[in-house]
């Protein structure tokens, strides 16, 4: 068997011995590795979303009127509320990391749970928006109904809307899954001021998903007033 056999760190001098995987020399190395790994992963993610952003820009450049018309069908209020919800979740996330760093287990647990609640609220509001678009016949495909000369390009806008926000929502779901694990780990007292890297690294991911939305919101909801 060659699963990494966990061993106690030789420099462990606090109540909760932290695991150091066999390939590392010490906890510091393990933490740095995790952090760099997450930053690289986020770099990959930027390029992943980047393909969709490029497609959006090219289509918008090509069909500005159709995009403006399509944009008038968007619910700016719900979008704005969701932006506020998500920004607040990033605040609670940042505070949660800080609490973990200070060794305040209960505080960090509550803040991570709050982050998840905000995340779920975001997804709930998004689901309401999706349902409405569905009812209005603005979901791309055979059922798409839109009167007007640029109907197909309006449909393209909504294809991009669903792909971009859908991919973003998928990342939110993954993020909530990660935070569930982190919350459970906090409950079991796995972290300490010396070792809270998983909380911090999950926070990086959460903030990244938040930032993607900061770009999605103006591009998808706020074209019309500024055209």
């Amino acid at each position: 068997m060659s699963f990494p056999h966990w061993r106690k760190s030789t420099v462990s001098d606090h109540a909760h011995p932290t695991p150091v995987a066999h390939q590392f020399d010490d906890r510091e190395q393990q933490t740095e590795v995790g952090r760099l790994g997450m930053w690289l992963f986020l770099a990959t993610e930027i390029l992943f979303f980047g393909g969709l952003f490029t497609a959006y820009l090219v289509m918008r450049w090509k069909w500005p009127e159709a995009f403006a018309v399509a944009n008038s069908k968007m619910d700016v209020t719900l979008g704005a509320i969701n932006t506020a919800v998500l920004l607040t979740s990033s605040l609670t996330m940042a505070l949660g990391v800080r609490a973990a760093q200070l060794g305040r287990g209960k505080g960090s647990f509550a803040l991570i749970i709050a982050t998840m609640v905000f995340g779920l609220a975001f997804l709930g509001i998004k689901a309401v928006e999706y349902a409405r678009k569905f009812q209005e016949g603005l979901f791309p495909g055979p059922g798409f109904v839109f009167e007007g000369a640029t109907g197909r390009q309006v449909e393209t806008f909504f294809s991009l809307y669903f792909m971009m926000t859908g991919l973003h929502a998928l990342h939110m779901v993954v993020g909530i899954g990660i935070l569930t694990v982190i919350a459970a780990m906090i409950r079991r007292g796995r972290f300490s001021p010396d070792y809270y890297a998983p909380v911090e690294i999950s926070g990086l991911y959460w903030h990244f998903v938040d930032i993607i939305w900061i770009f999605l919101f103006p591009l998808l909801y706020l074209i019309h007033p500024h055209l």
Partner: protein, 539 residues
């Protein structure tokens, strides 16, 4: 050197024989072996498609397969060879095995992620194979829209899903390598003491991490467009097929460097060891890898000179494409300078490295023809292109892979391959390769388009030559398959360092122990400081 301890002690191969100990291993060396089996399988699958194509092209009318089948054959040959052999070949096999050892670490930074990447690879490959078996794909490996999204009657969606999944395997591998090189180096192993193989894999990994996600999202858009009829790429409803080409080549040009940079890394190691000299201009060779990776991101438009892209964009892409020749030439000249006055030892890996240098140079120089916009108008989509990229990918990348497999075979298995057979098959490969692909330069220059099923009778002689070469090439690949398997039981026991090499992986047992080194090595000098000759040849 001790012949007993080398194979009989505990090592990563005899540390557990159960299926579980292989399929749930997190040992980078075992994962490398899993990859090796997988990609060799795909190499022969992809190769069999090529055999059918070459047989078909022996006669101008085409008699062996239907025209539709022919379209599927060249598509499947391209997809299998690029995504399931060349991209993972050196990185996932040799890189996986060697990077932790070359940096003096016990494993990669993320061992479980490494295992996951193999499973992701197998999952993606399975979905793609499912698509190929249940109806095939006829878009060419480039999936150009709107043909792929609106007109092809083949299995586009499952093929896109398969390639989407496979991409993540590549991303995870690249991420793992970058973090390992940054954070897992042994004490004293500074950046400019790293072996050049590590430098080139590092550059490769940057490309994998930054380019692959763009392909992933692009094939996802193709699949969505095909499934729902949305109009991002379809010009009939206001979409932009050029957008697809831009996105596709943003990955697929750098992907060429995912294939060639690792081979360059192998060649650097082999040339240093078999000429017993420090690589001439070490820092320039290392920096050239990074330069190639960076330039690789800026030249994708040279695939689109005749696509209707702006002429001014074409001019810039043309100039930037010429610039890639500079770091490539730095490498070739520095390898040559390393050989100069070296103690050259003609073992098989060096023969393959020589093959690489010659064939890569031909492939690279013909690339300059194609980067010239005016010449490209004549040569685009002809057999000249086919010959050019096979000189890079087969003459370059596969020769590099063969050099690496032979060079590190004693380290991986603890046994030597039979030198005579290996030299013979290296020669067969070189002859077969040139006979296959050199006539294709002529065919292309004379105007024979690629991907055509019928051709005018005057092209038959060159096509028959090419097919004859392909059969020699096939034999050249089968011989190593046989003798390498034979050597697992019957090969001479290699010992820790049969070549007298200086990099860290040779300073531990062959095959290595699971932890790679008994104690973490401490590095006090560069990678290529060879001792005086008498000490080594005393055996």
């Amino acid at each position: 050197m001790s012949h007993e301890t080398a194979v009989e002690g505990t090592n990563y191969l005899n540390n557990g024989y159960s299926l579980r100990s292989w399929f749930l291993t997190t040992d980078h060396k075992r994962i490398a072996i899993l990859y090796l089996f997988t990609i060799v399988l795909f190499f022969f699958v992809g190769g069999s498609f090529a055999v059918l194509m070459r047989l078909e092209l022996m006669s101008p009318q085409g008699t062996l397969v239907q025209a539709e089948t022919y379209n599927k054959l060249f598509t499947m040959h391209g997809i299998v060879m690029i995504f399931f052999f060349l991209i993972p070949s050196i990185p996932a096999v040799l890189g996986n095995f060697l990077i932790p050892m070359m940096v003096g670490a016990r494993d990669l930074a993320f061992p479980r992620l490494n295992l996951l990447s193999w499973y992701v690879f197998v999952a993606g490959a399975s979905v793609t194979l499912f698509a190929l078996v249940t109806g095939g794909l006829d878009t060419g490996w480039t999936f150009y829209t709107p043909f792929s999204t609106s007109y092809s009657n083949t299995r586009v969606v499952p093929a896109m899903v398969g390639i989407f999944i496979t991409g993540f395997s590549s991303i995870l591998t690249g991420l793992n390598f970058i973090v390992t090189v940054h954070k897992m180096r042994a004490p004293g192993l500074t950046w400019f003491r790293l072996p050049l193989f590590v430098w080139s894999l590092y550059a490769t990994s940057l490309v994998m991490v930054l380019a692959t996600p763009v392909l992933a999202i692009t094939v996802a858009m193709v699949a969505f467009e095909r499934a729902t009829g949305i109009g991002i790429f379809n010009p009939a409803i206001g979409g932009d097929p050029l957008l697809f080409q831009h996105l596709f080549w943003f990955y697929s040009h750098p992907a060429v460097y995912i294939m060639i940079l690792p081979a360059m890394g192998v060649v650097s190691e082999v040339i240093a060891t078999f000429s017993r000299k420090e690589v001439f201009g070490y820092r320039f060779v290392a920096a050239a890898s990074l330069a190639i990776a960076v330039y690789g991101f800026l030249v994708w438009g040279h695939h689109m000179f005749v696509s209707g892209q702006s002429v001014y964009a074409g001019l810039v892409f043309s100039i930037l494409s010429y610039l890639v020749a500079i770091p490539s030439a730095v490498k070739v000249f520095n390898w040559t300078a390393t050989l100069y006055k070296g103690q050259i030892w003609f073992q098989t890996p060096l023969l393959y490295a020589f093959g690489f240098i010659g064939l890569f140079t031909i492939g690279g120089l013909t690339g300059l023809f194609l980067a010239a916009m005016a010449v490209d108008v004549h040569l685009t989509d002809t057999y000249f292109i086919v010959a050019h990229f096979h000189y890079i990918m087969v003459g370059g990348a596969v020769m590099g892979f063969m050099a690496g497999i032979h060079y590190w075979w004693p380290k991986i298995t603890g046994r030597l391959y039979p030198e005579g057979w290996a030299k013979f098959s290296a020669l067969v490969l070189f002859v077969g390769f040139n006979l296959t692909f050199f006539p294709q330069f002529l065919l292309g220059y004379l105007g024979m388009p690629r991907r055509y099923y019928h051709y005018p009778p005057e092209f038959q002689v060159l096509n028959v030559l090419s097919t004859a070469g392909a059969s020699i090439l096939g034999v050249g690949y089968l011989i190593p398959l046989i003798y390498l398997l034979w050597s697992l039981k019957r090969g001479k026991v290699a010992g820790a360092n049969p070549w007298g090499a200086t990099t860290l992986e040779w300073q531990t047992a062959s095959p290595p122990i699971t932890q790679n080194f008994p104690t973490t090595p401490v590095v006090t000098s560069g990678s290529y400081e060879f001792p005086a000759l008498e000490e080594v040849h005393s055996e």
